[in-house]
Symmetry: C2
Subunit: 551 residues, 2 copies
């Protein structure tokens, strides 16, 4: 056997030509809509972004050939990985080269810090070709440095001048695009002649609005997780003896959990936004889970699946208050830090919390209480994302079931297993949908640049239609903004999209979840992402998107 340098699928994907909107295949003219306004807090946002506020929506239409002077462009990958990042860059590259073969593309290394620290490479055709249709952000690496300081902006401008860069494309989530917008405003105000264009990236699916139908990577990541959930469900349904508690990455919002539920039809899926809206306690959630376990046990089914969104803990109002109290109480608390044993620390905490939070704290399993009290980040804050909520719920459900069993109200057997899926999906080879969508986003960004636009996010819409009918253009980033409190100060930020309880995806889930809980044969087994074969297998967008668009 010869030593591999790539897998057969890696090699085969290299020659995939992403599908794209028909309009991007020819010459383009920009059609501008009416002036826009921000989603809320219009006056404040307008004041903060005098140069980039109120710009019109842009859509591309077929136009005449025209000359485009050569430009150099820089690109940055920001934040957590999402499948398709490499295709944004290859679409951007191809778009730039189609406009003018003299155009050049630079990639800043390791995220936004590459711009500030002047670390970059030129992205030539040879480099790009190595990364077409692949997962990962490894072409130039990513990072989490926030662009928030004037000094950073100036350092960025410096390297742009050195390299003759006229535009920067920032591929990132809501925070990174907020920063992109601030940077665009700054460069425009300073008249530096450096445009900034954003691209909507995040597997979490929480960067979306009327004009940005979905962030890229969400589709692929959810399909990977759903493959695994489906496989586990088939295992559960074959072995008939395990309850699988599966926590899913996705930060605050429950979009990933909901999409995976729509794809795999598990027995249960907790939606954080519903927990918050109904003011549920941790015990309420456990009760709900236990009810399903008992009902299934009564039907002879001692197995099942429960999906749990990563952000759950923060959405349980009582837990949220407890965590806030603990953060206040324990930050730089020398009395607490002077205590020696864990027991003393727990006793101290119990005494200092409000009566309600103290009760919540007492009800928690020891391991979790310990984690909340002792495992804290350098700022003294609880590290919520490290809490293994799936194990917490297992422990609490087991306790409750033991009680019911003692009372003769439960005769089943509870053998739980826990899983956490996250890193498995962030760098998967992008689905055809994400490969096409990201390539189009990058290509669109090239055109926005060539037209001198700044402060825009690349936008490709009508995504449940075939790709050639997709609508490409740009959305002013200020349009997505409102004012929110961050570290005690009001800041302009892109509004995060949580799961809407009045939205079609949740409504569909709500309508069917009872039958998914009760019935034996409602599991769906999505299987692995397919890149070849029938279109109904290979080219489907997410269920969330289909439902949101009434399909």
């Amino acid at each position: 056997m010869e030593l591999m340098t790539k897998s057969p699928l890696q090699i085969a994907r290299g020659s995939y030509q992403p599908k794209m909107p028909a309009v991007l295949k020819g010459h383009v003219v920009l059609k501008e809509g009416a002036a826009t306004q921000s989603v809320a807090d219009q006056e404040e946002i307008k004041q903060l972004f005098p140069n980039t506020y109120g710009m019109p929506l842009i859509t591309f239409e077929a136009g005449e050939a025209k000359a485009h002077p050569a430009v150099n462009v820089g690109v940055i990958l920001s934040g957590g990985q999402a499948p398709g990042g490499h295709n944004v860059i290859s679409g951007l590259y191809d778009g730039l080269k189609a406009l003018n073969p003299e155009n050049k593309l630079y990639g800043f290394l390791g995220g936004p810090s590459g711009l500030v620290d002047h670390k970059y490479i030129e992205l030539t055709g040879k480099v790009i070709d190595e990364y077409r249709n692949t997962g990962g952000f490894d072409i130039i690496g990513s990072g989490r440095t926030k662009l928030e300081e004037t000094e950073q902006y100036e350092k960025g401008a410096e390297i742009c001048r050195q390299l003759g860069i006229k535009a920067i494309v920032i591929i990132g989530g809501d925070d990174s695009n907020t920063n992109a917008c601030v940077l665009a405003e700054y460069y425009k105000q300073k008249n530096y002649g450096i445009q900034v264009i954003g691209c909507p990236k995040t597997i979490d699916g929480d960067l979306k609005n009327e004009m940005i139908e979905t962030s890229f990577g969400f589709d692929t990541a959810c399909k990977v997780y759903s493959e695994l959930i489906g496989n586990i469900q088939r295992d559960a349904n074959s072995a008939k003896k395990y309850w699988h508690f599966i926590r899913l990455m996705g930060r605050s919002a429950s979009h990933i959990a909901l999409e995976c539920a729509l794809q795999s039809q598990p027995n249960m899926c907790i939606i954080s936004e519903e927990v918050e809206a109904k003011n549920m306690t941790l015990n309420d959630i456990v009760e709900q889970i236990v009810d399903v376990i008992v009902a299934r046990a009564n039907a002879g089914l001692n197995f099942g699946t429960v999906l749990i969104p990563e952000g759950l803990i923060e959405f349980i109002p009582a837990m949220k208050r407890l965590i806030a109290e603990l953060n206040d109480l324990l930050a730089h608390n020398e009395d607490f830090n002077a205590l020696e044993t864990d027991d003393e620390k727990r006793q101290y905490v119990k005494g200092m919390l409000s009566p309600e939070s103290s009760q919540v704290y007492r009800d928690l399993p020891k391991g979790i209480a310990r984690q909340l009290t002792l495992d804290r980040d350098p700022h003294g804050n609880v590290q919520v994302s490290l809490i293994e909520t799936e194990k917490l719920l297992i422990e609490m459900a087991a306790k409750r079931l033991a009680k019911l069993k003692a009372e003769g109200k439960y005769k089943g057997k509870f053998s739980p297993l826990s899983h956490f899926f996250g890193y498995e999906g962030r760098c998967a080879i992008p689905s055809n949908f994400d490969a096409d969508y990201t390539y189009s986003l990058g290509y669109t960004a090239a055109i926005l640049i060539s037209e001198g636009k700044t402060g825009y996010m690349s936008s490709v819409r009508n995504l449940t239609a075939p790709a050639d009918q997709w609508i490409a253009g740009g959305v002013p980033i200020t349009m997505m903004m409102n004012m929110e409190r961050r570290n005690g100060k009001m800041k302009p930020v892109i509004q995060k999209a949580l799961v809407r309880l009045d939205g079609a995806p949740f409504k569909y889930f709500e309508k069917h979840r009872k039958s998914w809980a009760d019935e034996n044969f409602s599991y769906i087994y999505p299987g692995p992402i397919q890149y070849y074969g029938p279109a109904e297998v290979c080219d489907q967008p997410s269920k969330t998107l289909l439902l949101e668009q009434g399909k």
Copy 2:
């Protein structure tokens, strides 16, 4: 959106027609080889199996049409799930129907207990068509009841007489096929006219020998795990800040870990069989891991991947002795059970162990020592498979790295993440290889039955050649047997295949592992299993098999 009952891929796979050996497409004649003997302990095995010992190897060749009287057949799924079980059954069904459309197939429910408890369904074409090319064992369920008692054999014979069943096919691993052989011997000795045929199933890959080139399910499960490992490696290589410790299912043998290493080229992979052969301690393993972490940190690479086989702990000679001592010491030990606190228990144990084991015990992280001492199964044994070896190794490596850092010998940053993959792969949709292989195994079993054979395992060989060149036939199960101590008694069992350190797969791994540890770009990203598209992507057997067959 309409309510799904199947995913698009489930629907599309329903019409896949598995590829099979050319010889199975026409009429077959049996070619018998010379008499066989067991792999060891020939005299004992011969005495224990007077009626089924020494039978010839069988291969199928093209023959003339002949009449086959109608038979009824029963099938059993035994033990843990493996992708392709449903295709063994559909191949068996199609094979039986091709021989005589009057043939009937019954499925015993929930594993071997279905035979004993007379729980079964008839597997009609309608049922079979629902399960073609799907993962899981849910068509009839599986179970772990061992067929070892005369009373069970008699109860089995009873239901066979009732249903007119002339043959039973047992789809299982080494233990289940051992039981199949005992059952075949018993029925033959009693002259009951009930044949028993085995099929080699297990994702663990430890049921193989000269005539059984691989067990089914190994290929698919390893490809699923390798997909995830590859995705995680791409993530590691993009974020450049995490060390991923990934434990892989596979019971005692390290075949799965090795195959996944061959497919994904991780920075490290521990092979239990090597650990045992080199008489390594847990500290030795940690040293090896730490050496790689330090070397990569020196090259600026504070990230990587380590694969860990599930069975590792049992192969570390010192741990094996410690576990054996603990099992002896703690089983029904009333002094120990009377102790109240965990600390008292740990002190007691330290005092009672041999000096060497006591030292090993002292060196263990507290959580693991606790698990070894306190979390015991109903027989008082340590539950080795529950030990989170990946977390154990992380904890020990972190400690060692902190020490090196204090000594100025390590300047890197160690951010570890742990994963365990197992249930994700056991019920995946079978790869084309497993779909084809299992279908052929089932079809072959039908022919062995029609020819009156018993005590044979269905065998399909030459598996790295195109499917039409595969060689089909039967292998006497006694041929795979030797005598081993089980629960204090010598028993005839199929010899388990561990990773051979002189075998081509390990040799290949050994040759390349240093460069995989050091270099940045040796990761392979296999991606998800593909069922459509180019043959080099869709129809490859495992690397283990390719290397074993000199390819």
